[in-house]
Structures are given as C-alpha cells and as structure tokens.
C-alpha cells in the first residue's frame, strides 16, 4: 500500500494563505474535468489546515444548491476546533440580469472582508446565462468586486471542459479567456484530473499543484514558497481521500 501524503501548498506546511497581512488577498483556482468532482479537496482545505478556525468560510455554488453543499462541505466529525462555514445559495443567481445587483443581494450581510474565504463554484456559468456577457465584465463586476469588498481570499472551482483551443464562437472565446485570465490571477492552481485511460481499482486521478501568475513572494513572510507537486489521489469513501505519489 502506498504511503499517505499530507496536502501541502506552502513550504511552511500550510494549505490556506496566511492572514497576517490584512491587505493581502489571493485567488486559488481548482480546475477539474468531468468525472472528478473536487469537493473533497475543499474539505481537505477546511479540515486539514492547522489554522482553519481563524477563517470564516462562505460556500456559494452556481450549480449545486445549499442542501447539496451542506452535505458535502462539512467539518469532519472528529475535528474539535469550531470552523465557521456559511452557505449562500447562488443557483438562482443564474437567472439574474445584473451582476452588481446579484452581489448586493446575496452578500449584503458581509461588512468586513478580513479573514473571509469565499468558495465559489463555477462562476463561469454566468457567461452563458447573461446575454452578451464577457469574461472581462465577469471579473470586473463580479469576482474583483467580491474580492475588493467582501472577501479576502476566493477559491474558484471551475470545470475545464469548457476550455478549448479551437475557438469557434463568441462564447467559446469568452470561456477560454476566462480560464486564461484565471491562471494569471490565481496564486495557486490546483488541477484535478481523472485518469485518461478510464477506471482503475486504486487510483482515481491526479492532483497537480502549481504556482499561479499572481503569487508574489514579497507578500509572504519568511520567504514562504509554493510547493509545486503532483499527487495521485484515490477516493476511498465519500470525503475520505488518500493522496500519494
């Protein structure tokens, strides 16, 4: 049996970004493809980071409703520290006509962004749901606005099946630029991929951690670096996932 590995993102064995600098904000992006739904990774963030109780988590998804997210993003039973997780249902947000209004309506109650982490699932769907939407305005009116006013850190979960080199439509172009910009705007990129060859008994897929374009070493104390790595993962049970090399 392979030896279990701990998930490390930073060289100081932390997973979540350090909050010591109050002005420092960051984006994590988790990219996955069909068949490897990565909520277990979020659970690892919440449960395995040593200081996760210092953060306030907000979970918002455009594709899954609150009931589902409450079932799947939870604090482990054995975990003693009290982690603050709030759920904001965004599934009906796809029916909206204006992004600034959506932000105001859904996150009205949030006044200070310090220590807040937003877990945002598939914001790129807004490109399809709003007529004439571009990836630039999606960043400007939605993601940047959230980051400036409401949340210090944002974790974006996106399905890269939309990403395509062969651009044949306006929408395709918008999706592709969205993913390209996301890689520049992120501090850390997690890529979760299923095996190309199909089903295997003891491996579910691979998890790759890479440094994104926005990572600035001067903002981190003690020259903390991102540990770039590639793991295999195997989903043993719901939310029990083994990482190994």
């Amino acid at each position: 049996m392979q030896q279990n590995q701990d998930l490390n993102v930073y060289s100081n064995h932390r997973i979540l970004p350090n909050t010591s600098d109050k002005n420092h904000s960051s984006i994590y992006s988790i990219l996955y493809n069909n068949g490897t739904y990565p909520l277990w990774l979020i659970n690892k963030f919440i449960n395995e980071d040593s200081n996760s109780s210092e953060y306030k988590f907000t979970v918002s998804s455009f594709i899954n409703n609150n009931k589902f997210m409450k079932q799947n993003i939870t604090q482990n039973v054995g975990n003693t520290s009290n982690i603050d997780i709030e759920y904001v249902d965004m599934t009906l947000g796809l029916q909206t006509t204006s992004l600034p209004k959506l932000v105001d309506a859904k996150y009205k109650h949030i006044s200070s962004k310090e220590g807040r982490i937003l877990i945002l699932e598939q914001p790129e769907l807004l490109i399809s749901s709003l007529e004439g939407m571009t990836s630039i305005s999606l960043y400007n009116d939605f993601i940047n606005k959230l980051q400036n006013e409401k949340f210090q850190h944002i974790i974006i979960i996106s399905n890269i099946d939309y990403y395509n080199h062969y651009i044949n439509s306006f929408l395709q172009y918008q999706y592709t630029t969205f993913f390209q910009s996301l890689q520049y705007k992120s501090d850390v990129i997690f890529t979760v991929k299923s095996l190309k060859t199909g089903f295997a008994k003891d491996i579910s897929g691979t998890l790759t951690i890479t440094k994104g374009g926005a990572f600035d070493i001067s903002k981190h104390a003690n020259d903390v670096k991102i540990v770039e790595n590639e793991y295999f993962f195997y989903v043993v049970k719901d939310n029990v996932v083994k990482l190994f090399y």
Binding site: G35, Y37, S128, T197, F199, A200, S204, G205
Partner: protein, 461 residues
C-alpha cells in the same frame, strides 16, 4: 447488501412484532406467494422505518450502493440498469441522465448532416424509459397487486417533443402461452416463430458460452460473468418488446406530451411544473428527446442564456422534488454544449462502430450462429449521478458495447468474438481493434477477454 441493512432497521424498530406478522402471513401461502412476498415485502415495509415518502411508488428500489437513502428506478432495460448504472442498479431518482450519440464518422458524404442519421438509438432507450413508466402506472391501478393496505403509486411520463409518436411506445413482452388468449392471431403466429427461433438461439448461445467460459471459469468472478444472467425482476423493470406497441395506447394521464413548436422554454417549464403539482405523489419521468436538434427545435432555443435558464429551472424543479423526479435527455454530440453536461448528473456517450468493425463482427458472429449478437457501438460512461458528485472515479471507457435487439436496447461487456477467419486480412483487422482497445483500456478484465479470445482462436485451429 441493501436487503440486509433494511432487515436490521426493521428489527431495531419492532423486532418481535414484525417477525410474528411475517410468519403469520407466510403460514397460509403457497411457495410461490412466499417468494413474491419475500421480494416485495421490504419495499412495502420500509415506510415506517425509513420515513421516506417515495417507498410505495412502484418500480422503485434502494440503490445497491452503500450510501443510504438513494432510491433508484429502471431506465427500461435490465442490462443498462446493471452494467451502465452498475453502482446503483438503476437510475438514481432526483438526477438527470444525458445520453449523447456521437454521429458516425464513416458517413462518406460529409455534406450530409450526420445528426439526421443517428436518431434511432437514443429514441429506443427513451421510449423504453417512458414505457417502463406506463407499465408501472398501469400496475398501480390494478387492485390484485396490493397485497396489503398501502397505496400503490405509479409514474407519470412527460415527453417534450411532438415528433415522438406515443403509439410507438413499446409494450410489455407477452409470453407465448399468454398470447394465445389474445385476439391478434397473425401477429401471434409471426412472433411465436420468432420466439421459437430465439429459443433455439438461446440454447446455442448458452452452449457456446459454456464452452467459451469453461476453461476460464476461475478468472471470472461474480460480477463479471453476470453479463449473461442478470436477474429479471418484473416488479422493477418489465421485459419490453420493442416490435410491439403498448395496448391500449398511452393516455394523457400516463404520458403527457408537451409541444416544442410554438412554445417557449419558459412555458415548457411551466407545464412541467403544473404536471408535477397535479400529481403530487407520482414519480415523474421527464424525457427530452433530441434535445436542441435543429430539426425540431426553433432557432430562438439555441441562445445560450435561454438554454441556461431552462436547464437551471429544470434543475431547481428537480431539487424541489428530488424524491420523485428523473430526467432523461438525449442529444447528438454535434449539438452537445458543455453547459448541458454541467447540468447532468450522469453522462453516457454512444459511439457507433465504424463499418469495418461491424463487418468484422457480423462475419464472426454469423459463423457462430449468433447473428443477433452483433454489437453496434461502444458505450462510454463519463459521469455517474450520486457517485461522481462525491469525487469517486466512475469514468468507464471502451468497456461496454450496445446494440438494439428485439428486447430493446441491450448492453454487455465488450469482448472480441472468436475469430472465424481463415485469411490473413481479418487478422490484421483484428489486430487493429485490439491495438485500439489496448491503448485505451487498462481494466484488467479487458485483457482477460483478449487473451481468452486468443486461446479460443488457437483451439479452433
């Protein structure tokens, strides 16, 4: 597995009581009745224990997976339920299944729009999906099956698309003895010949299979040789006969048809919602055939924000009624858009073989006396409802093959047939196929099949 779990739950609730009840009931019955009770009893007993409202819907059973609380219903084909939806034994209720048909790449004139040629596979499975609903609905109205006082609840099928002829919904397979009482004599004669033939075939096939698997018996564990003997449970899925049609024809109460032409996506959603509220208990089987096919769908439907709002609304409706709502969408891959996949829980891809492979298979199966066994294409599972969502790996490529037979859409595990060839040309073809397969599949049993076919080939020489 699930059966045991339920038994424990019953025991924990009122152990002595329920045992007494069962034994007293069993006392006065014939062996046959006992068996049927044994099968039905968990379903009818569960409501007080599980406290889920849907348990007395006919044709619904708990998933074979360990996660509790998942209920499944049949897609209308025993083999699809057991092989494609292997983790559950049926479609999990509250999910959307997308079947996308990849058009045939060997069509010579590329000018021809390919999607027009490949409508039938998807619709076969879709009609079976609806027919199962009709069958369960009719069973629910029969009084004799209510062995206790619990109310039996049926299904409501909703078909969105006026091009589906409801008269072509397949009927339930009637065995020869029962059929003799029916009035349709010509048809009966024809079909009895067919069924005789198929009996002979079946015997042959059994022999052949016994011969083929005899030497490799040890390698095949329970799940794997199951491809020939899935237990048919008429309470869960009827045996359908796609050459016959359901009689009497389905009524509006059984299958509701919503038109596309002259309708908007919002209105369609409204009609679905109305149908749901009108039938507060029934299991809703929603079927969207040929979704977004320009042959049927007008231009305005293609705008992304419209589709998105429709799918979003559908998903909301589904999550509001997640204990009694199943959706099946079929589409052609040419019109597949990523958002459709995002909103589906299960994605199944049908990939027809090219003509060369079909010729090869036909030749070999004919020489074995199994002309009906020729497979038509590969079935790939890309995503599985209530499994992929939890991060489990469920992608299965190039493992399952499908074909449309008299009993409808049938799938089986892919294996290369015994090569009947004596000229070298075929061998090269075979190699091609094997190479293709080996490069794609790492599943151990795939190799079993291959090595096994080698052995049998040698034997034949």
């Amino acid at each position: 597995m699930s059966f045991q779990r339920r038994n424990q739950a019953i025991g924990s609730n009122s152990n002595a009581n329920s045992v007494r009840q069962i034994s007293s009931r069993v006392g006065g019955m014939s062996l046959r009745d006992q068996q049927s009770i044994g099968r039905q009893q968990p379903v009818s007993r569960t409501p007080p224990v599980m406290k889920t409202p849907q348990v007395n819907i006919l044709g619904v059973k708990p998933s074979v997976s360990k996660s509790s609380g998942i209920q499944v219903t049949s897609i209308g084909s025993t083999t699809v339920d057991n092989l494609v939806f292997k983790q559950h034994g049926g479609i999990p209720i509250g999910t959307t299944t997308l079947i996308k048909d990849i058009s045939r790449k060997d069509v010579k004139d590329d000018e021809n729009l390919k999607y027009l040629s490949s409508l039938s596979y998807q619709n076969t499975i879709g009609l079976q999906f609806i027919a199962t609903g009709v069958y369960q609905q009719r069973r629910s109205l029969k009084k004799d099956i209510t062995d206790d006082d619990t109310e039996k609840i049926g299904h409501l099928g909703i078909v969105i698309g006026e091009w589906i002829d409801l008269h072509t919904i397949p009927g339930v397979y009637v065995s020869k003895s029962k059929k003799s009482s029916s009035s349709l004599k010509d048809k009966e004669q024809n079909e009895s010949i067919v069924s005789k033939l198929s009996e002979v075939e079946q015997k042959r096939k059994d022999l052949k299979i016994a011969w083929r698997y005899g030497m490799k018996n040890n390698d095949f564990k329970d799940g794997k040789n199951g491809e020939t003997e899935f237990k048919e449970d008429p309470n869960f899925v009827p045996r359908l006969d796609i050459s016959g049609h359901v009689f009497p024809a389905a009524t509006r109460e059984e299958v509701l048809q919503i038109n596309i032409a002259g309708n908007t996506l919002e209105n369609i959603l409204m009609s679905v919602q109305q149908a749901i509220t009108k039938n507060p208990k029934k299991l809703i089987r929603l079927y969207l055939p040929n979704f977004l096919n320009p042959k049927f769908y007008p231009k305005s439907y293609f705008q992304h924000h419209n589709i998105m709002k429709f799918l979003n609304g559908l998903k909301t409706l589904q999550s509001m009624n997640d204990s009694r709502f199943v959706t099946l969408i079929t589409t052609t891959a040419d019109f597949n858009i990523p958002i459709l996949e995002t909103f589906s829980h299960t994605i199944v891809e049908l990939k027809p073989f090219d003509q060369q492979t079909i010729d090869y298979l036909t030749k070999n199966y004919k020489s074995q006396g199994l002309p009906n066994k020729v497979q038509q294409g590969m079935l790939n599972v890309i995503k599985m409802g209530k499994v992929s969502e939890f991060g489990h790996m469920s992608v299965r490529m190039n493992e399952i093959v499908y074909h449309v037979s008299k009993n409808g859409f049938v799938v089986e595990l892919w294996s290369i047939p015994v090569d009947a060839g004596d000229d070298e040309k075929k061998d090269t073809k075979k190699l091609d196929i094997e190479n293709k397969k080996a490069s794609k599949s790492i599943e151990p049993h795939g190799h079993d099949h291959e090595s096994h076919s080698h052995i049998s080939k040698d034997l034949e020489y």
